[in-house]
Symmetry: C3
Subunit: 121 residues, 3 copies
């Protein structure tokens, strides 16, 4: 069930998204909270337009939502969040010079009782 949604601003240069997603799902699959690696559904959404605060340029970011079924402990959620941040940071050391860039990770509880999952094919 964990969904990993990465949103990013397109001023970060060419990012190795395939490697970033592979590292992230690998790191999460090693968590005791994840039962089945095939539940790890990751995706990337590119921002059409963006802005950081009051600056017209020179800033960018990636933001990750990790959406998990509710019920984890605060410690488990913190650990999952850190796994995602650590997995991504390793791929983000060649950003355009002079850019003020941020990475943030947010853990979202999904309502368990109304979650529907279907195998299509």
């Amino acid at each position: 069930m964990p969904h990993i949604v990465i949103e990013y601003t397109p001023n970060l240069g060419a990012l190795p998204f395939d490697a970033m997603l592979a590292s992230t799902t690998q790191a999460l699959s090693e968590s005791p909270e994840v039962q089945d690696e095939a539940d790890l559904k990751a995706r990337v959404l590119r921002a059409d337009h963006f802005r950081v605060g009051l600056a017209d340029s020179g800033r960018g970011y990636l933001h990750v939502q990790l959406r998990i079924l509710a019920g984890r402990t605060p410690e488990a959620k913190k650990d999952l969040s850190r796994r995602v941040a650590d997995a991504l940071r390793g791929h983000l050391d060649a950003l355009p010079p002079g850019l003020q860039a941020y990475l943030s990770v947010e853990v979202v509880d999904m309502d368990r009782g109304s979650y529907t999952k279907v195998r299509l094919a």
Copy 2:
């Protein structure tokens, strides 16, 4: 107020999104929880990059967020979730052969007190 957000991986072949959205809003409009059909705001977001678990290929998915104002019973939320899944499944029987594909539906409570809605034109 219900927002329907469908995110999908682009390896599922050509999907009939217009028909999928029409079926989904139709099914939801028939729920006693929906007062005004014009409140049903559906949209589709395409993932630029994606990954499912530890597999480099051969897997895909659609994930739906149904965002409703808080206050529904667990039963009502489960029913809404199932309406969405059933409406979409009817359009997903011709996926690329050999693909391991999933559909999931998540119901999200939106904070009622701070929700703003404006008619623009």
Copy 3:
């Protein structure tokens, strides 16, 4: 930390997104709830496909998620929501004639304990 995510249907004509985002971050930066303007991370996501209720055409919308760290009062959340709506409305007075268009703003609490933020460069 506030994340501002604007999703929109592409039938609203050419929208001045840069000005819309500038007004929004300006209005939010003036709130006592926002400590550092550089925390205001705004982005725009375009819907590939969309539908409003049972109508095949003639309707469109923008929906904003304002994602803030949990702990604000209901009044503060309502004020933040209204700031976003007011900032955007000023730029939305030239929509295509005959279109039935909506703007909605939703405030989402983010889990504070598991939120990770890293300065990359």
